[in-house]
């Protein structure tokens, strides 16, 4: 069954948090809500769970009207950014809480609950830590207990609010892969909120980019990366540089050079702004075409070499080039720079 969000609105006082948001999460899909803080992504997640009340709109799961149901009957597993583990209960007690909260008729027996807790602890790879209190666990372990606790109620939908937000980079990468595997095993419709584009692009089947309470674009990670619908999406998905340009005959003229415009749609002729990724630059000799620049630093660590340079007409940029190119360069060299390819959107 798919989760369908239609025209959801929400404002806090005079501040509009969500503006007519519509989204569809397919059955079993792993959907990411990506956006900067204040874009409304967490609010949307909390509305689906019932922790916030929408001003208008509908949220349906199959033919169920979710908004008409009280939070505790929605059957939605929610993982909070700061875990929200019950501090006075052990991991095992935390995980058992949902099952013990069921109405007497539906409640599993003590033995069944115990078996299920053990099974979930194994699933999140914390078999031996059932008797620990949250304070005795690391951040990553707490997050996994929180996940096991949410899964214990056998939810139909799993919602994760910045699940790795409070963890350090390395733990985060490990958990990310693990979560992806877990999703493949459980097949649960999962929506997670993040402000980390790398996380969204790596984990999700599809990503919805939110800005100011509106869906800016929704698509697969490939679509988003290769066909960003707006300058905002392009900028949010990675580093980017902007140059004034003039569009003429399907080319962007930048510093007197014709540059290829990527993307299916061709923008109208006239002055505009061109956006380029740091790895889409051609570095030439000092008298080459494009912008004149002076190298400040050459950084050779990493998969690509990074050239930190200052443009003659003000501004500094750091471009990425293959190591073979970078080895011929040194600080204080003069070079010319021109984007190989850019993107141009109609100015709004």
């Amino acid at each position: 069954m798919s989760l369908e969000i239609t025209n959801v609105n929400k404002s806090f006082g005079r501040f509009p948090a969500l503006n007519d948001v519509s989204l569809l999460a397919e059955d079993g899909e792993f959907l990411a809500l990506l956006g900067p803080s204040g874009s409304g992504k967490t609010t949307l997640l909390r509305i689906i769970a019932g922790l916030e009340i929408a001003d208008g709109g509908a949220v349906r799961f199959g033919d169920e009207d979710l908004l008409a149901k009280p939070v505790r009957q929605r059957g939605i597993g929610f993982v909070f950014q700061h875990y929200a583990l019950f501090k006075h209960m052990t991991s095992a007690q935390n995980i058992a809480f949902g099952m013990q909260s069921k109405a007497r008729k539906l409640r599993p027996s003590k033995a069944e609950i115990k078996a299920k807790v053990a099974e979930l602890l194994a699933l999140v790879q914390l078999d031996d830590l059932g008797e620990r209190y949250p304070a005795q666990l690391s951040g990553g372990q707490r997050q996994r207990v929180a996940l096991a606790r949410a899964l214990a109620i056998e939810p139909k939908i799993l919602l994760l609010d910045e699940p790795f937000g409070a963890l350090d980079a390395k733990v985060r990468r490990g958990l990310r892969r693990w979560l992806r595997e877990l999703h493949e095993r459980t097949g649960l419709t999962t929506i997670f909120v993040t402000h980390d584009q790398e996380e969204a692009l790596e984990l999700a089947d599809r990503v919805a980019v939110l800005k100011d309470g509106k869906v800016e674009q929704i698509g697969t990670p490939e679509e988003l990366y290769h066909e960003p619908a707006s300058a905002f999406v392009f900028d949010f998905l990675g580093d980017s540089f902007q140059f004034p340009c003039v569009v003429r005959d399907g080319k962007a003229v930048i510093a007197g050079v014709d540059v290829t415009i990527l993307g299916a749609a061709t923008p109208a002729d006239g002055p505009s702004t061109a956006y380029a990724r740091p790895d889409a630059f051609v570095v030439g000799p000092a008298d080459g075409p494009g912008f004149g620049a002076r190298i400040r630093d050459v950084l050779l660590a990493g998969p690509d070499a990074r050239i930190d340079c200052v443009l003659d007409d003000d501004g500094a940029i750091e471009v990425r080039v293959p190591h073979a190119v970078a080895q011929k360069l040194a600080p204080r060299n003069r070079i010319s720079l021109i984007p190989r390819e850019v993107r141009v959107w109609a100015e709004t």
Partner: protein, 282 residues
């Protein structure tokens, strides 16, 4: 204890001076007066002490005090919980005003709290005549004493809980709800364990104050011996009659009650120290 690093080593003279100042201040303001109560009470020996207490008037004062505290404290515990819950879990118009009103009994003199009740329910008060017709007497009666005590001790529990519940936020309760727990279950299994220490502390303070309240109770009680005299009032009555040993004996009992409640708190804290330490995170 390891020696402090050189950077944190203060001149010994300064250390000594500060310690003497702190201990001296506490001794002068707290310990010495407390000690005096017991010294005065036992001045004429243990027999005089017990015969001072063992009077029907004193026994009825003790009984009355316990009854008043027994009603006022549970009332304000329930009120404090409800108020703290409302203030920290919901946003509504006039919230700041509500918090201010909860604090009001702290800022107005207890005598005024008592007078308000006399003005409202006294024989010449707003509702006095009607109540009298119905045969209900509030002022110069235990009802008035309970009302005045309840008003004066109103903020104690709420004041302990509000900052704590504000700091804790409602994530754990939200989590319990998404896991299918209903309101009562969430309250008893999640909220209450998280606030139990603050709640206990608030209840203890509230109890101590309810038993020791003088000003407001003095106005509404009428000090009818053996009937509307609570322990603090009984102390005053005895003292004014130059019956110093009995006055200090009753006073020492009051002090003892307070010390017992504090001891209970310390014992409980020591007993659950492990659990407390295990839960301390974030």
């Amino acid at each position: 204890m390891s020696a402090p690093s050189p950077a944190r080593r203060d001149p010994p003279l300064l250390v000594a001076a500060l310690i003497i100042l702190a201990v001296g201040y506490l001794g002068l303001v707290v310990f010495l007066p407390l000690l005096t109560v017991f010294i005065e009470a036992l001045r004429k020996g243990i027999e005089a002490y017990f015969s001072g207490i063992n009077q029907s008037e004193v026994w009825s004062a003790i009984k009355l005090t316990l009854i008043v505290a027994g009603v006022a404290v549970p009332l304000n515990t329930v009120f404090g919980l409800a108020a703290a819950w409302t203030v920290t879990r919901f946003d509504f118009w006039g919230k700041n005003l509500l918090v201010t009103i909860i604090d009001l009994p702290f800022s107005i003199s207890p005598v005024i709290s008592g007078l308000i009740y006399v003005l409202l329910y006294g024989a010449n008060g707003w509702f006095g005549p009607q109540l009298q017709e119905m045969g209900i007497q509030v002022i110069f009666n235990i009802t008035g004493i309970i009302l005045a005590t309840t008003l004066v001790t109103l903020p104690f529990v709420a004041r302990e809980l509000i900052p704590l519940m504000q700091a804790q936020g409602s994530d754990e309760e939200a989590a319990a709800t998404t896991l299918g727990a209903n309101g009562w279950r969430t309250f008893f299994l999640i909220t209450l364990p998280n606030i139990k220490w603050a709640l206990m502390y608030g209840v203890l303070l509230c109890t101590a104050r309810a038993m020791g309240e003088f000003g407001a109770v003095s106005v509404v009680s009428g000090k009818i011996r053996g009937f509307t005299a609570t322990m603090p009032l009984q102390v005053e009555i005895l003292y004014n009659e130059y019956n110093f040993v009995a006055a200090f004996a009753v006073a020492s009992l009051l002090a003892l009650f307070a010390l017992i409640t504090l001891a209970v708190k310390t014992v409980l804290e020591a007993r659950f120290a492990d659990e407390l330490a295990a839960q301390r995170w974030r």
